[in-house]
Symmetry: C2
Subunit: 293 residues, 2 copies
């Protein structure tokens, strides 16, 4: 993916075109639509805090309207691609009262005893919320495919089931924003080394990550298939170049901003609220600290 003209939106720049996906066409170090400057990029992200918060508050307020809306941000990517970084630096700009973040780990015995979407369903954002999936139902066609944790025929079934599931969310008022955090194996190696060198990061180091790394080619193929087969009009995929942390954080902030802006949400007035009557009632109220003692 080459340099893009500046006035193209982030969503246009990162949207995966329909059809076959070849991840080697996508440069993980690219910074499309943005000047390549970490300092400027971090400043730009900080400058978006106020607007993101207002957009999120409008979304949250929509729960009091007759047509509540939700945003579901799906974060997928290889280990160290920065799902946690996006949570801290981008999602962290929003108000926790309207966030529902779920970090999906290996499924429990109870979860494995149900359809793969059973635990996902419980984590979708309620009315007005921003839901964030740190890993997601895509694990069920990624690690599960690469590691053959499920039979080929069952994996095959899941692509369609995912598309139907996401369609239902969208039909019911949720915008689904799916981001693949794309990194190079070189950058993953650096980040794993950092975790091993820095005592404040040892707790994040999982020897299993290095085992998964050996399967890089198989994961690439599994991602390419998922990015092709679940790249729908109702829930498109975005590939976010993530070798540069500042770009990754800023790009996702811009995707969220653009998505929420497009919803064009008004401030709702709760049904049946009589503002004049309430103002009169409150004006007539005589309760004071003195009156109570």
């Amino acid at each position: 993916m080459g340099e893009k003209p500046a006035r193209e939106s982030m969503a246009e720049a990162l949207r995966v075109p329909s059809g076959k996906v070849d991840l080697s066409d996508y440069d993980p170090a690219a910074t499309p639509t943005i000047e390549d400057s970490r300092k400027e990029g971090e400043k730009a992200l900080a400058g978006m805090a106020e607007e993101l918060l207002e957009l999120q508050t409008r979304l949250f307020a929509s729960k009091e309207s007759t047509s509540p809306r939700q945003l579901l941000l799906v974060l997928q990517g290889m280990d160290t691609s920065g799902k946690g970084g996006v949570l801290k630096h981008t999602v962290g700009l929003m108000d926790p009262i309207g966030l529902k973040v779920t970090s999906f780990k290996a499924p429990s015995a109870e979860e494995r005893a149900h359809d793969f979407l059973w635990r996902i369903e419980k984590a979708v954002p309620p009315a007005g919320f921003v839901g964030v999936f740190d890993r997601s139902h895509y694990e069920d066609v990624l690690i599960q495919r690469v590691r053959s944790f499920a039979p080929a025929q069952e994996i095959e079934r899941r692509y369609g089931a995912i598309n139907d599931f996401e369609k239902r969310l969208v039909d019911e008022g949720t915008v689904v924003l799916k981001c693949m955090l794309h990194i190079s194996p070189e950058v993953q190696k650096e980040r794993l080394q950092e975790r091993l060198e820095d005592p404040t990061k040892h707790w994040k180091y999982n020897p299993g990550d290095l085992d998964e790394r050996q399967l890089w080619a198989a994961y690439t193929e599994a991602y390419e298939i998922a990015l092709e087969r679940c790249n729908t009009d109702h829930a498109p995929w975005f590939i976010v170049p993530s070798d540069k942390k500042w770009f990754r954080n800023l790009a996702i902030a811009k995707l969220i901003e653009q998505t929420l802006t497009n919803l064009d949400l008004d401030w709702p007035v709760p049904e049946g609220l009589d503002l004049a009557a309430e103002k009169a009632r409150l004006a007539a109220d005589t309760i004071t600290t003195e009156s109570l003692t």
Copy 2:
């Protein structure tokens, strides 16, 4: 509550002494231990962001140790006392990956069909998390007492049940930090008026709030009883003067900071992790972008 000497900690200043509680002894506009300046107060809060984040990360990392810890922040207070403001301005300084926020509304039919602590239990913070209750199990001895939603004998039973429940959380590694956001009826009136005047706040206005306001004296009594009977050594109450928003937000940040600092958490090394072996394995790794194509 008068002026306190500056070197007294926020926890010492706001801790409710054991015994009978008379809320009229507590000035909701006080700013103990802090110079009364909104501008300085807001700056001080912003200046705490980095430290709070590190303390929270240490807590989160403890989930990888053999003795994980948790923090449960309970926010109680009359309508408009600023539970939402604390979430946005204070809790919002932390990383959403380790936050579990629950806003308790009127219980559903299914919740009412269980013991009052059933829904609370499901919302406690898992290993390493900061849990935040926006309203809590105290509603079951506050509105439920004032409105006689439960028989007197059942309300009576609940104080002991709450103390036992909180003791179990503490014994299992959770610090319980209970904050009563204390406002005056005058300030509540102003804030309700604001909601009615400002179209961006209409969605927050609930006519029921004005009905509850008529019961201010009864609520005060119910709070005094709860603050006395559930003010235990393992889970003490703090009264946070909340007429001034900046003080409320800063005071709770300081309570969190002090609480997490007292835990004195080291960065854990996951059990069985052999750093030298992992470094050697990673150094020998030859996967690169080139090797994959």
